[in-house]
Symmetry: C2
Subunit: 155 residues, 2 copies
């Protein structure tokens, strides 16, 4: 198997060409050269894309992912950091599991109003909705903060 053009990489991974270009621009992947204008990719890029997808599936930001990949190939981070990430994921999983349970329960609990049901309340609490640690995904990092005069966290 020789080098592939962007269309082939796209076809084999399902990742759109525009995304591949974007990833290259961000330094997540690299093309091995050009033929004319066209990028040529080493088949190893497929593996790398799988890793990137792994990271995305884990909810990591592209920047984080790129900090986890070595240029020559694959992830080679220190245990600490990987473990920290795994722990983070673990907490997400806990929350999601509680949320799932709350949903399942709500689907079959006869209580007129879900919140009247202790099982549901417990799930809500476990989901982090009672105490608002809530760092799920995307923005929304309500941190149970004094609330008045919370300072900007970004820019």
């Amino acid at each position: 198997m020789k080098d592939m053009d962007i269309a082939e990489v796209s076809r084999r991974t399902g990742v759109p060409a525009s995304t591949l270009r974007y990833y290259e621009e961000k330094g997540l992947i690299a093309s091995i050269g050009r033929r004319g204008l066209r990028r040529l990719f080493d088949p190893a890029v497929l593996e790398r894309l799988a890793l990137i997808a792994l990271g995305r599936a884990g909810g990591f930001a592209l920047d984080e992912i790129s900090s986890m990949l070595t240029p020559d190939g694959l992830t080679k981070m220190d245990r600490r950091r990987l473990d920290a990430k795994a722990d983070e994921l673990d907490r997400s999983i806990q929350r999601l599991t509680a949320t799932r349970e709350a949903l399942r329960h709500a689907a079959r609990c006869p209580a007129a109003r879900p919140m009247e049901c202790p099982t549901f309340r417990r799930a809500v609490r476990l989901a982090g909705a009672g105490r608002f640690e809530v760092t799920p995904i995307g923005p929304f990092k309500a941190e149970a903060v004094p609330a008045t005069r919370r300072k900007r966290k970004t820019g």
Copy 2:
């Protein structure tokens, strides 16, 4: 406990006032009236915010959440939909779990390059990164599509 002003709601939930206003604008919560300009909230809003947080924790969009809440109070959707949501969450959990395992394994596997390790490869595959079903979070819905001439999915 009587009606609360926005600061109190914020203090008690950790949700910034700006977010509360935004939620009201989106119809996710409602204030029970005004004193002068100032919104007054019924304590029941706390419960509703907990539910919203539950939804967010589950990765649901605000619009989805609002479609799950009845105006008078709480979620009262048909079983089908709740179960569908729970199933969706379940798939997310599977992926996240595989990702976590991949990370944990990568942290202690001695293989020079993680992808050489079958355990890791398996985790990557389970994480959806090999077959790219990858509908994790946020954009990035690569659907193993013909790749050339994929048509726009949004506006």
